[in-house]
Symmetry: C2
Subunit: 170 residues, 2 copies
């Protein structure tokens, strides 16, 4: 398994979908994960250290988990099937027992960021999905898929995502 | 407090927003609650007894709550301020202690429906927000607000909402 961090939340203009870039802490590679707009909004709120006036579903999960004496040890993006990523929440209850709960990567990451829990990607997923981190100087020859190249060319970063959110992402 | 049930999930075409109709079990009145599209989709899935291929955030809340030995005693829509409704999740932990967690009505109802927990509306909210349940024969003179009258005229019911969901609500 490889620990990753949320490097950026960008827009893929070809699919008009938000993409999370998860950077491997041990290399310069990133795993792109396409997610839904509500989950992207929820993740953007944490990355921007902003809060909604009212709690989102992921805020409720944090409150319930803490209120019941549990904690989130880690989230793991375990596998990929037909372009769908599967993740697991590793939750520890008040007795120290671990529960594994099947989840989408987007929800998992939105929760992990709120609780300061580490995010891992399985070696299997990493081998299939990781690409070199895009940079401005990059000749853009390293990206295997057109759709990924397309959003890299748009050079959207978190600042741009802010506009997306304020223009109706919520 | 008045116990309510989810009578219908309809579209308000004037605002292009989903509206939940919560019917008072002791009268013919309903409390309309405008909600966001992601939460409406999640609620529609339960009302239609359908499941997403992957768990939604509200499914995670159910799994976490049950996994940690908790339960949801009830949800209460407590108050209304500037057209925003406030709700509380009344959660019981494994020792029988009750936690009260601030939540949006939409999330609260999506969770209550998954756990089979009762939904209540405070007398304060009921007095401010309740209207007569719309019917086809109705002369439509009982609805205080144009926007409410407008969506009643559209006669959208759950069947129509299905189409809304399949056309991109997800």
């Amino acid at each position: 398994m490889r620990e990753v961090e949320v490097k950026a939340l960008v827009m893929d203009p070809t699919q008009n979908m938000p993409v999370l870039l998860l950077r491997d802490l041990q290399s310069s590679k990133v795993v792109p994960v396409w997610i839904g707009q509500p989950e992207a909004t929820s993740i953007a709120m944490v990355l921007q250290q902003r809060e909604f006036p009212r709690p989102l579903a992921h805020d409720l999960i944090k409150a319930i988990l803490k209120g019941l004496g549990g904690d989130l040890d880690m989230v793991v993006i375990d596998s990929i099937q037909d372009s769908t990523y599967f993740a697991t929440l590793h939750i520890r209850d008040h007795l120290g027992k671990t529960l594994e709960i099947d989840a989408r990567p987007s929800d998992s990451i939105a929760i992990a960021l709120r609780l300061g829990s580490p995010i891992y990607v399985s070696e299997e997923v990493f081998q299939v999905a990781a690409v070199e981190m895009p940079t401005v100087e990059d000749e853009r020859q390293d990206f295997p898929e057109d759709r990924f190249r397309a959003f890299v060319e748009s050079e959207m970063k978190l600042a741009d995502f802010k506009r997306f959110v304020s223009e109706g992402g919520v």
